[in-house]
Amino acid sequence: MTTTPWHLDGELAGRYAVGTVGPVLAASVEQHLVACVPCRSLLAPHVDTPRLDLVWAEVLEEVEAPRPTLLERLLGSIGMSDATARLVAATPSLRGAWVTGMSVVLALSLLAAYVADNGVAVFLALAPVLPALGVAAAYGPAADPAHEIVAATPYSAVRLLALRTAFVVATTLVPAAVAGLLLPGPAHLALAWLLPGLALTVGTVAVSTWIAPHQAAAALTVAWLAVSLRALAPRHDPLLVTTTPVVLGCTVALAAAAAVLLVQRRDIADVIRRTA
């Protein structure tokens, strides 16, 4: 922004005070008043002081306070409090870069599913990793430059992490589900990545009570890719692996174990969980 070259005169101040300037001009007058003390005092003769203070508070609220984003208004309409919605909206991974990155990965693996021999396997290996990586991008010293400050606040770390995880999962699920439906092959194939995705996400949150979320996600991703790519790649029917009762059973058991761990460690998580 450049510095404003103009100032209010008595006449404009008077019109602004009684509310007869148009909305566009009023907005720029307000923007100017926030930064310019002399012009603020020009308003004084036109309004009595208590009212001026009141008007002034309104103007500040209008100009300085962050406007609720679309997401915040949406969350508000489903009953979430303003404050909680603010925390969700401040999630780094809900910001543009993450959504773009995730869409690119999905598009590429979808493309692979069509053109490559084992392309579907690649998709089934990659898609479950996305929500876990999203969690890593949502919380912790690597994701939030204010993490050290956040860590010293009374807000429950686990609550904050869970809140953000829920929304990361929600924002990842929608595009990943769409991509899954576009997969070549039987329709239920689209669901084959869901369970491992869930297990990896809950696992990341649970392991985050020991190490920073980005390290937890990285470790689990490497482990998952090592297992899944080896199991999937030599076969041409990826369903063989992902829908085997044994594999499914293991995945569910892992997710459940991670959830139990998380609940048990929720207090410890308040102090540690960082690359100190």
């Binding site: 926030v34 430059p145 050290e148 807000y155």
Partner: protein, 288 residues
């Protein structure tokens, strides 16, 4: 009243002990931590701010046990903390950055919270740039933004890690006023490399060296450690622990004065350098 009772704290990184039997008691007023780079000041402040658990030792903060989940939360509700490298999301405006912390500090009512955010921004003279993005703020402004969030809710305990770094002289004066005022009835504990900060605002001072405290007392008591060991001369005296040029043709020396030397009143810096030993003191001598 004693706000912080830390006894024999140990915190090791690998084999290196960043805190090695640190004992510190802080009461209402302003306590300053002085110490060279790597002495363990930041590690200590992070332990006090409940973000880093010590390996061993006893700790009570505001009468609570920070290793117990309930006690920890109770401490955090009454704590303002400025970390050494406080950062904020670069895309936030100054207002949003502080507002974000305010939400986490349980200021749930939006209207009241916004008023509080405005109050602390004004306190650090950032009211005029509230709508600027963090990435567009100068280094000193970002430092003040960190300070602003620490002041949210006027907490009874302020933990400030090098709060005056990067501040210009005017803002430094303003900060000193702010902290002196906060020291009335509250506890402020801050680390600094500026002995002038200590002289100006601290009621107590702790000198930290290699993970332990080597001095605890008032700034006057610290300075008096060097009584009779500070002298001036027209030429640099090689027998001094350290000597540096002050003003036109005068050299300020610390160490054991020769017979008949012209003794002068010691400053906090003189005593601090003598406490740290010849190496640190010579660093000062060369820098000057």
């Amino acid at each position: 009243m004693t706000t912080i009772e830390a006894t024999e704290l140990v915190k090791a990184y690998g084999r290196h002990r960043a805190l090695d039997g640190m004992t510190l008691h802080a009461r209402t007023g302003v306590t300053g931590l002085l110490g060279p780079n790597g002495a363990g000041k930041t590690t200590l402040l992070r332990v006090l701010a409940t973000v880093l658990p010590a390996d061993s030792g006893q700790l009570r903060v505001l009468g609570q046990d920070p290793y117990d989940a309930v006690g920890r939360r109770s401490v955090r509700r009454r704590l303002g903390y400025l970390p050494q490298d406080a950062g904020f999301h670069r895309g936030f405006t100054a207002f949003e950055a502080v507002d974000y912390v305010a939400v986490l500090k349980e200021h749930t009512d939006t209207r009241a919270r916004h008023e509080e955010v405005r109050r602390v921004l004004d306190l650090v003279a950032l009211g005029d740039v509230a709508t600027k993005r963090v990435r567009a703020l100068s280094g000193g402004m970002r430092q003040r933004l960190g300070l602003a969030q620490a002041l949210l809710g006027d907490p009874p305990l302020l933990v400030l890690d090098e709060p005056t770094v990067g501040l210009d002289p005017e803002q430094r004066m303003r900060f000193r006023d702010l902290v002196s005022e906060a020291g009335q009835g509250r506890t402020v504990i801050l680390s600094t490399h500026q002995t002038e900060d200590v002289a100006a605002v601290c009621s107590d001072v702790v000198v930290v060296k290699e993970g332990r405290s080597v001095f605890t007392g008032t700034p006057t008591e610290l300075a008096s450690l060097a009584t009779g060991r500070v002298w001036v001369d027209d030429a640099k005296d090689p027998r001094a622990v350290a000597g540096w040029r002050v003003g036109a043709g005068h050299y300020h020396h610390i160490g054991d004065p020769p017979a008949g030397a012209e003794l002068v009143d010691p400053t906090i810096e003189d005593a601090y350098l003598l406490l740290l030993g010849p190496q640190a003191a010579q660093g000062r001598g060369e820098a000057a």
